[in-house]
């Protein structure tokens, strides 16, 4: 397979040479290297190698409708917090691609998402150590204007090789406005879609008779009219006993509904979600971020400020019901409360609970392996609170030289469900983010943050000062202080400084100091980042 792709790349390259036409070579480079110091107080472990590094380089060649590319990855050795099974170097990503508006095919590695991803999404995020790219063949076609179909077959990436299971998938989408001529210019837009995915993995289990082919399907709809938008997707898969669900034979399902309204200066969005036994992997024995076929988005706000990220929500594939509502509003510029330069207000609420699980009969405990597991009424919300987050953000520009963002948050976080330890954490967080711009090029930004809780590690305070000189320099220093820790010896100041230099699309950053243990999340996927004390160098470059 690899050889064949390389041949294609070479072929394209040489065709380009002989034809004396010019294609385009581009790419990027990323290096993160860390020098570790053991720090038993904050829990930074001893690293035998002392220095670890992850590096990536993409090269891509575009030539008309063709493109081909590869990615080098080096884990020498793998950074703390990312699975050490990556240790080594290789070229795990190679592809060749031909795309026109009505036909396209890809051979090699690719990323794909059907609908909102409830049934299929292959994606990568280097910070999370996620890469479930599919290696195989993909065909995309638009046989008639308004109808799009995608078919693919392949195996998913696992470290530097491929997982055991085979993934076959098909997706179709009809845009009625493009299909029906008289609807072309209508302001109401309706799109219908559906996907079917099947995975195959041999049954080698000595105890259970496991399904080798596990299929799933997902219809979806999107309706737009003026500023209104409604969308929904429902996904269901047949029984799929796995390590995730304790080998129960219950089918899985997930639903995501969204409604939003946007007019000038106002936006409202409401999302609802239900998930029941919907982990879907191409290897039933795997766990964490490995070999996931689908993606269950967390529907809470992706918080940015550090102390708001101590307790982040992550999706619960075993079962959850949740809702989120958000309102953004821009006060009129020049009005009395809006101010001369404008004021922005955002209000956000999210909640997630368990689902109801009833025993299937009097003798079988709920979730017992080898059984149907449990039954769950679709519309009934479970009584266990997983997460609550109510937050408000006000940002205002007072003058061309001074801007402020104020934010308040109250949250409940079921640490036992999320992390498998502790209990319910209730916390309040306040943030003031102030920017002063004395000249056109220079800015000083100060963040003051506080987190108050009686549970877990207690109260935190944080100060950040960042000074930037456009267009090249950033200097920052942060102190996160766990002043409320019930263990007086652990009331640590996590002091961290960094310097970055940026030129065009190149950036180099040096940082040094202590970083607390934490959970890094993107979407519904999180990884635990261990505490660190040391020096970090990061280089990114796009060309």
């Amino acid at each position: 397979m690899k050889r064949r792709i390389l041949t294609i790349i070479v072929l394209i390259g040489s065709v380009a040479t002989f034809a004396q036409t010019t294609g385009h070579l581009s790419g990027n480079f990323q290096l993160d290297a860390q020098l570790y110091r053991t720090d038993s107080l904050i829990g930074a472990p001893k690293v035998d190698e002392k220095l670890l590094s992850n590096s990536y380089a993409n090269f891509r060649y575009d030539f008309g409708k063709f493109s081909a590319g590869l990615r080098y990855e080096g884990y020498l050795n793998t950074l703390q917090g990312i699975d050490p099974k990556y240790d080594g170097v290789g070229v795990p990503y190679l592809f060749a691609d031909y795309q026109t508006e009505d036909l396209g095919f890809t051979v090699g590695s690719f990323y794909e998402q059907f609908g909102s991803g409830l049934l299929l999404r292959s994606w990568e995020d280097k910070n999370l150590g996620v890469d479930n790219s599919i290696n195989g063949v993909r065909v995309r076609s638009t046989p008639i204007k308004g109808i799009r179909i995608t078919g693919l077959i392949g195996k998913q990436r696992q470290y530097f090789s491929l997982g055991k299971g085979l993934v076959r998938a098909f997706d179709g989408e009809i845009s009625l406005n493009e299909l029906i001529k008289s609807w072309n210019e209508k302001t109401t837009r309706l799109t219908l879609g559906g996907s079917f995915v099947s995975k195959y993995q041999k049954d080698e289990d000595p105890v259970y008779k496991l399904p080798e082919n596990v299929g799933g399907w997902a219809p979806r709809i999107q309706l737009n009219r003026g500023g209104f938008s409604l969308s929904g997707e429902y996904a269901r898969k047949v029984n799929d006993p796995s390590a995730d669900n304790n080998f129960i034979y219950k089918p899985g399902e997930a639903m995501l509904l969204n409604a939003s309204y946007s007019v000038n200066r106002l936006g409202i969005n409401v999302t609802a979600k239900r998930v029941d036994n919907m982990s879907y992997r191409s290897d039933r024995a795997e766990n964490l971020n490995k070999l996931l076929i689908n993606y269950l988005p967390a529907i809470s706000k992706n918080q940015i400020y550090s102390l708001m990220n101590i307790y982040p929500y992550s999706s619960q594939s075993k079962g959850e019901m949740g809702i989120q509502a958000e309102l953004s509003y821009q006060l009129k510029r020049g009005s009395k409360i809006g101010g001369k330069y404008g004021t922005q207000v955002s209000l956000n609420f999210s909640a997630a609970n368990s689902i109801v699980k009833n025993a299937i009969n009097d003798t079988t405990p709920i979730g017992a392996n080898g059984t149907l597991g449990y039954s769950s009424p679709f519309f009934k919300v479970g009584k266990d609170v997983y997460f609550r987050d109510l937050n408000i953000e006000i940002s205002r520009k007072f003058s061309p030289k001074f801007k402020a963002i104020l934010m308040g948050q109250h949250l409940k976080y079921n640490q036992l469900v999320m992390e498998g330890k502790g209990g319910m954490v209730k916390a309040s967080v306040a943030v003031a983010d102030l920017t002063w711009k004395p000249t056109d090029e220079q800015a000083l930004r100060v963040e003051l943050q506080g987190l108050w809780t009686k549970q877990d590690k207690g109260n935190w305070a944080m100060i950040l000062a960042e000074y930037s000189i456009s267009p090249h320099w950033f200097f920052a220093i942060t102190d996160q202080w766990n002043y409320g820790n019930s263990d007086v010896g652990k009331r640590v100041h996590y002091i961290y400084g960094s310097i970055a230099y940026v030129r065009n699309a190149n950036r180099i950053q040096f940082s040094s100091g202590k970083q607390r243990e934490g959970i890094l999340c993107v979407g519904g996927v999180c990884r635990n980042v261990p505490a660190m004390n040391g020096l970090t160098v990061s280089i990114t470059s796009s060309f």
Binding site: L6, G13, T17, E124, L266, G267, D440
Partner: protein, 162 residues
């Protein structure tokens, strides 16, 4: 294996560089309509393509700064702006209300699968590209510091002076 890669890379580079154009991959308009990314530019006008996400503070600052100046820049240079959101399905449905809730009046497209992001080798957001009136990539920049929009405007002015 490694030799083949080297040779193929060499061959590709011999084939010559042209200045990059906007690649042609699928992105989605906020009303759900798919379009090819090379159709985002208006012929004869310079184009700013800015990658961002609703959860990225520096991105929002950069777009707000560009947005505040856009009307004036457009009068002077005819420049167009397209903001490419890389929000995934956790937050992509929030993009439209987020944009209108800030009174942003420029084109925003969704790249939830990251096709355009990968085609343009974006690592982190914000990442901003500038194309000239003929559609050639002339400049790109990553991260945002207060005042960076002045450098962007200088680059746009250089284009229109030619």
């Amino acid at each position: 294996m490694k030799v083949i890669i080297l040779v193929s890379c060499m061959l590709m580079s011999v084939a010559g560089f042209s200045q990059g154009k906007l690649p042609s991959v699928r992105v989605q308009e906020m009303n759900g309509k798919w379009i090819q990314s090379d159709k985002l530019s208006t012929p004869g006008k310079p184009l700013i393509v800015s990658f961002w996400a609703t959860w990225c503070k520096p991105c929002v600052k950069e777009l707000t700064a560009i947005s505040d100046n856009l009307e004036e820049w457009q009068k002077e240079t005819g420049v167009q702006l397209v903001a490419v959101s890389i929000d995934d399905s956790r937050s992509s449905s929030k993009v439209a209300p987020f944009v209108s809730g800030r009174g942003w009046d420029f084109k925003v497209v969704l790249d939830a699968n990251g096709d355009l992001k990968r085609a343009l080798n974006v690592i982190n957001v914000p990442h901003t590209f500038l194309y000239d009136a003929e559609g050639n990539l002339v400049w790109q920049h990553t991260s945002y510091a207060e005042g960076d929009e002045a450098e962007l405007y200088r680059k746009i002015k250089e284009l229109t002076k030619k």
